[in-house]
Amino acid sequence: MPSASVIAAHEVRTLWRDGRLRIASALAVILLVVAVVSGAQYQRALTAERTQADAAEQTRWTSQGEKNPHSAAHYGYYVFKPASPLALFDRGIEPFTGVGVWLEAHKMNGFVYRPAQDAAPVSRFGDLSAATILRQLLPLLIILAGYAMIASERERGTLRQLLVSGASRRALGLGKVGATIGSVGVVLAPAILIGIIAVALSGAAPPAGRIVALLLGYGAYLTGWACLTLAISALARSARTALIVLLGLWLFGCVIGPRLAGEVAARAYPVPSEIAYRSTIEADLGPSHSTERVEALKAQLLKQYGVATTAELPVNWGGVSLQAGEEHGNAVFDRHTGPLYATYANQDRLHQMLGFLAPELAMRSLSQAAAGSDLAHHLRFVTAAEQHRRLMQRLLNGDLTKNAREGEEYVVSEAFWRTIPAFTYTPPSSMEALRGAMPAILALAAWLVGTALLLGFALRRLRA
């Protein structure tokens, strides 16, 4: 009575004898290794470049010489987004976000220089990253390895022999799934090894939780494809039909589905046009140095201190009014960026939900979340940068308010710039990052369970 392990061993031998599959596997291994190595180089160069740029900006800030704090506020400070250690595996949305942002007085600037803007149009075919290969190519390799595993046995009449010899349907399913996964594992092993070495050499080891999430996520995703492939192979009348159905499912799930999801989400949660967005913010901000708002504040302050002129105030009126302007601006920015980011997040959530129909989308979301290259990580950095801008303005205006005297030129010494804390960014913990990808995790779990159940159903009704 052939056991699952005997069936698996036999299938692995058969697959290995298939020259086409050997070529396809070799191609996948080469692509994966190229993707991991080039990803590692890209990530290392990016990290070095941004570390240097951050240091240069900090030096520029602290050595700007004697200056009025408000001049320094306009002089501003650039912060650059750090590359996540796992970006070598999955660059996620990084090519579509800017590289850094200028923090200055009165304005919440946007991120500048999206890499995709500079890329040749051929890059829109996709990004050769290890994650793309795992999500799009390996399912295809699984299909090629497994579409004929049961259907061909039936066509050749060997399935009847197998069942008559006492092989249980459970052993048959487990053996063939095991063989498919095992053959894909052979492709994955060298890339995983190189990936681990590259991450270790980068010097910025990612939290183990993220790596575990990636391993489990991709494991579930690829096992789901193996179960689906064998289920269709068992259900289809011929190997040809099985192949065509599976290629159709792959095409929808991995190629058309994600693009369709993007369109659906953009329709469901539309974003405003650039002009509408900017002009509403400008209208809410009001004219530069708005007189009405400033005059009201002045009156209130004079009344509060019981004086007639701003010169008599115990604080510097210029500093107070500048900080009030900042706070007004901050409220306006929050009122507009909040809903915009919520729209982005809603679109993202819908992409994840659509992962129940096209598992590539779910895997994509989980992979980007674990790699630290998803929307949530980007928005966290944007928020951290904006908080730092506000902190800088508060400290600069605070100094003006406290120390400047009306009618007198006021400058601070270079030592003052060092009292403004340098920008630091802490990425979310593994748990925090994965919590945002919960719909995707559920979709992947549903995918794994659903395809396993389908395989069970197909094996139960298997007729030789």
Binding site: S38, A53, F80, Y113, Q136, L137, L247, S273, Y344
Partner: protein
Amino acid sequence: MSGRTGTTLRFLTQEMLRDRAMVIATILLAVALILAIGNGLAALAQQRAVIAEAERATAASIRAAEERARPFLSGEIEKPGYWLDPSDVRGFGGYFLVNHTVKPPLALSALTIGSGDVLPRLLRVTPGTLASTAASYDVESPSRLSLGRLDASFVIIFLLPLVIAAAGHGALAADREAGRLPLLAMHGLSPQRVAQMRLGLRVLTLLATGAAAILIPLALGGVALDAGLAAWLAVAVAYGVFWAAVTLVVISFARRASTAAAALGALWLILVLVLPWCISLAAEIAYPAPSRVAQVIEGRDASDEADKARSAALGAYLQDHPELAGSGAKLDPEEFVVRQITTTRLVDNRQAQSDAKFDARMAERQTFVDGLAWLSPPVLAQGAMIELSGTGLTRHRAFVEQTRAYVGELRRYFEPRMLAEDKTFSDWNGWPRFGWNEPSPRDLVRTALGRALGLLVLAGVLFIFATRRLRHTRITARMD
């Protein structure tokens, strides 16, 4: 057409109509194209609406400025600081003017969104710094951008080959597997002829359906057939013919339909996914883009240097504008507007050098990609479609160039007025407006037709090769 050919064609047509795979493939292609063009037309309408919105915003800002300036000009109200006063040219040019340069979308962008979603279609411009032209873009979720767009080009480049493969992979193997080849040979139909006629009929049906699914929605959307659209269709048809030839080659090798399907799937994967990825990666490695982060730092350095050399910068400026040196206007290098004009000029010069270096490298990279594109028909076809649709880098570079020239024009208008003694402004309609100058599409059409011809030649070579192989096909009733 001889009677036998006519009878054969009738038979093959009836057979095609009964073939569920063919019917599904045809419907799938038509539905996908109609959906994609619907998407493209919606994007086109949205872009046009944004441009109209920009024009309205400019008109509204001028009206508001004129209204606000009226009491200041008549002397009814005392003039405030210039930043609050549009009747002061420094206030109007620096704070009140809402002005954009606009790259109007071509109607063909409804077919190919290309890089149109990552490249800005309008830029906010003032007489001030040029830096904003390289760093602006539309409001769009980066997640959505990373997923890519479902447009007609995507359907043609990615789906059409698979649809052709689905419809044609069994063009000969099905007869062989059913043991019909000897029977057909008895009627004077060689395997070569059967495969060619069956595949030809199916590919023609698919291409005709595809053309109708493109042209009808476009016509309903008000897009007229012009040279650009004709060239786009020529590229799409040539690409389809190339895949038909690939299918014929595979048919000539494969003895079973499932083997043909698997081989076509593998070829699709290599040509449509793997090779473009490799070309993109090779281009990045061979011609890495100069660092944008380094460019930001260079810009900051330039700004610092300019700030330190304010007086010298003013001298250089006056050397270029001698009319101001003798105008009686007192130019203080510490005055904010003077400082802004002179430092901006130095920073822009440095930025222009850095941009030129960047653009030169990008042009080298594109030349490299264009050369390698001949290795991958999908890249070849996609490149031609993007350029014809005006959603690629060529038209965008023209836009950035025209924007730079326009900012120069704005400066020539505003700067002398800002530095003159009398800074009163009331020329509400006289300041220079941007007019987009559409580059001639002739070269793009010629390049696209060259690529279409290249694809047809490649298809011809493959067709001849497959025909020669099919001539030697064994006719047996045995199932292999």
